[in-house]
Structure formats: structure tokens, C-alpha cells
Symmetry: C2
């Protein structure tokens, strides 16, 4: 197990897409809480065109008391060093990556002054959140492409380097809704050092230090390949179906916790108290 | 582990639906092989109306050398004791259950003379095959309803008693294609004695005695809940997302084998030989 500790860093809120924006807003409320009255930068860079994401989030977060919102959009990678763009981060205590194409996030921002500002804000205790493509981009290796709704074909997977805000995990989103267990198993088979985390829509993990808590209405699937005894990922023809034995799978729901270090789930505090009261 | 041995019985060929009927026909070829020149009864009872399934299978099996094919259809349960229906099984060495609604199979045939004839043919060494609904109906407990493409909601699952040709497993079909991992996990959570087996389209397991082999183009997912340390299936409100920790998951492809008794996967003979040759 490599070092995942990010002591002193702020939380990561990693969202499976389609988070509730006008009802209870359980997930956005958590983001707002961690912004602590500072500025929130909405990074819409995953979009090929600015598409009104900013307006939607401005309304949703405005109602939650986050009033200092700015949009970061870069059309071209060269803009990611503009002074004007960097000034958007002045006073920022949070950055929120919206959905789109995760390769746009990594290709436009990777190794730029803007990316360094995001990292600085995180290291200073700020919250970094991402939904859908913005969720995938959080890890060091990110899933870019791979069919849903079928058993994984060995050659049908595209990975790329992500922002690396969390290490040794691969995140997938819109998870149950798009039938993505197969492609996440394929990614884990390639290197079981990576822990697979599949997040449903309107569901998020809040990662602080070495452990996360699940919030929202769906499930979070943790695919642990550490004990895998056999896979055909490196052997067979590329259109062959994946074979992988002895995966450990956890499904977590709202309130469940998980430790990345020892790869163990834990019950929510409330459940623990209720259990203790029962016995 | 309860007794699953069915010594002397013929094979069960359990198919995830949409098996190839006009190409290589890998799965139907296996069925034809085990029919060994006898009669094959195509049971279309899962259909609410006879829908041309028989003609399609007549053509597909005819080209594979199975020429003595008859259709068993019952509109009403009372017909399942008619002499005329029972005579359809004369000389039969195989029965093939087509798709439709698994509750039609169990409600029309359960505890009838027709069901007893099916069991006799199986015990005499005949092959019993089933695809889609016909696959689900094979086990003692069968999955009837439950949403795909989302994380399982605790109350959203309908089970019923199946034909019981194989015990202590729950079979699901059209598996990856309809995103059914969530509902199978829900079924296993209800009682981990049941081993969950999810079969993709154009994919089948051939079960002989205590072990099966996978054939076809997709995957077979085995969900083993024996080591589960926590689930909320009995605790929470019915629309709550499922939480289940420490599931063991295997994904198997063409050529893989699995032992039901000790719940262990095994490599195909060909792979074993290839591995031995490498080293």
C-alpha cells in the first residue's frame, strides 16, 4: 500500500454525477459547508463549450449561502497561465469541477499554473469537489472510456493520468445507472494496486485524510483486487471477455465509511451507536 | 453448504438469453450434443402467447442435426396433466425452456405431471436447458423482478420458488446488458446461503454434478456472500440503497470452470496446459 496521506489538506468531495440541485441538495450542502464563507471557483473546463453549468450552480449554491462564485473556463491550454485566470482563485476556499470530458480537464490544466493553484488551495485546507468527469479527474489514473452495459472486453479500456489529488484509486461515475461494473473490474485487473471506486448518481464520497464517508441517495461500489488469484487481462485476445477471480466487493450507502489505508469498510457512527443500544 | 449433488443426472445448460441462433451457435451446439439423437422438447410455456419461438429453435436446432423437435405449450395450468402433453416427452432426451416470464413456468408447471416428467428426464441423464426466463426458473429460489441499472433498493426485489433443478443458487440473466449486479447483490444479501450467478447474453453455464463450465461470448458473475460482514437488508427503510460489505466476486469467461461445493473457480483445462507449457 503506497502513501495516500494528505495531512493538512482539505476534503475531496467526489460526486457520481446528477447531484440534486433543487431539492434537499445533501451533496451541494456539504460542499457549501466546507467553503466556509470563502470564494468557490466553478471550473467548467470539462465542457467543450461553456454550457450554462455555471448558471445552474450559481443558483443552487446561492440558495445555500455561497455567494462569492466565479467561473473558471479555459478554451485553450495556453489560457491556463493567464494572470486573469489565476486571479479568479483569490480568496478561494473551494474549487468545484463540473461534468463533461475528463480528458479536457487533464489536457487543459495538467502541469499548468492553474492546476498548481488548485493544489495549493487543497493543501491549505480548501475543499476540492468534482462531479461526473470532474470526479474521474481527481485520481492519478483516470478512466476515460470503456463501454458500459456489457462484460468488459480486454482491449476496450482507455486510461489517462488525472490530477492526482488522490492516489492509488480509480474513480468511475454514473456507476449503476450506466452499468459500469465491468469496466471498473477491467481497470482494477490491469493493476490491483488501484482500488476501484464506482459512484452512483446523486451520491458522493467525502474523503478526508485516509478515509471517506458516503452521502447521497445511491450506492458506492468499492472493488478491491488485492486478493485476485487469476485474471486474463494480459493474456487473451482484445475482444475476449474479462475473467477475474476473487475480487472483494463492497457496496456502501449513505452514512457508510471506508478506510483507504487498510481497505476496510466501517459502519457509520449512528449505526454503531444504534447497534450498541440494541445489545 | 447443503447437498447439491445430483448424481446420475444429466447436465443443466443455463443460458443468459439472446444466444446465437444463426452463427457459430456455440451454446445450442452443446445442447444438441447432449440430446444425443433423441427428442428435444421445446417448452415455450414462459410466453403469454406462443410467439414463434418454436419455429426459430426448429430452424436453429435442425441445422445442428436435432430433427425430432416438439413444442410444449400450456395456456392453462390444467393442461399440464393432459395425456397428450405428457406424450410429447416420449423418447425425449432433452428439454429446452425458452424465454418470457419465469413466473409462468413456475405457476403453470410447478407440482404438475409435466414437471415430474421433466425431472425424470433429467434424472435419467437427459439435458435440461433454459434461456432467459428459462434460466431463472432452474433454481429453487428464482429472481422474478427487481430494477436494473441502479443500486438495489432494499424493498425492490421479488423472489419466487423455481423448479429446483439446482439448489442454493439464484440465477440472473441478461446480466451485464441490463445492469443487474445490484439486484443480484440484494438477493444474496437476503440469504448468503444462495450463491448468486449472473449470466450475460449469448453466454451459458453447463452444470454437471457439482461444477460448471462457462461457454459463449460474455461473462458469468458469481456473487459469494459467505464472507459478508455487514448488510442493511433487514434494517433500513425499503427505498434505502443497499449496503453490503465483503462480497467475494468472480467474473468468469468462456472456458472457465467453477465448483459449487467449495465455491471456488478453476481454470479451464486448456489454460492449465498452456500455463504448464510456459513454465
Amino acid at each position: 500500500m503506497t502513501d495516500r496521506s494528505r495531512k493538512g489538506s482539505g476534503p475531496l468531495i467526489i460526486i457520481g454525477g446528477h447531484e440534486d440541485k433543487d431539492g434537499e441538495r445533501i451533496i451541494l450542502k456539504e460542499v457549501a459547508k466546507y467553503v466556509r464563507g470563502g470564494r468557490l471557483v466553478i471550473a467548467t473546463v470539462a465542457s467543450h463549450q461553456p454550457e450554462g453549468y455555471f448558471d445552474a450552480y450559481k443558483e443552487a449554491f446561492g440558495a445555500l449561502g455561497v455567494t462569492d462564485l466565479v467561473e473558471l473556463y479555459v478554451q485553450e491550454r495556453s489560457e491556463a497561465q493567464d494572470e486573469e485566470k489565476l486571479h479568479l482563485f483569490d480568496g478561494a476556499t473551494g474549487v468545484f469541477f463540473s461534468g463533461g470530458d475528463q480528458l479536457r480537464i487533464s489536457s487543459q490544466l495538467g502541469d499548468t499554473p492553474v492546476e498548481r493553484r488548485v493544489r495549493e488551495i487543497h493543501e491549505a485546507g480548501g475543499v476540492i469537489a468534482g462531479t461526473s468527469a470532474g470526479a474521474s479527474a481527481m485520481s492519478d489514473t483516470m478512466l476515460v472510456k470503456g463501454k458500459g452495459q456489457e462484460t468488459h472486453r480486454i482491449g476496450d479500456l482507455h486510461l489517462a493520468a488525472g490530477l492526482g489529488l488522490v492516489r492509488d484509486v480509480i474513480i468511475d461515475q454514473h456507476f449503476a445507472e450506466r452499468g459500469r461494473i465491468g469496466r471498473l473490474l477491467g481497470a482494477v485487473a490491469q493493476n490491483p494496486r488501484e482500488l476501484g471506486i464506482g459512484i452512483d448518481e446523486d451520491t458522493a464520497i467525502i474523503l478526508r485524510g485516509d478515509n471517506f464517508e458516503v452521502i447521497g441517495s445511491g450506492g458506492v461500489y468499492v472493488v478491491d483486487g488485492g486478493g485476485v488469484t487469476h485474471s486474463n487481462i494480459a493474456e487473451a485476445e482484445t475482444d475476449r471477455a474479462l475473467s477475474i477471480h476473487d475480487v472483494r466487493l463492497h457496496v456502501l450507502c449513505h452514512g457508510d465509511r471506508f478506510q483507504l489505508g487498510d481497505r476496510r469498510p466501517g459502519m457509520a457512527e449512528a449505526q454503531r451507536v444504534a447497534k450498541a443500544a440494541e445489545s
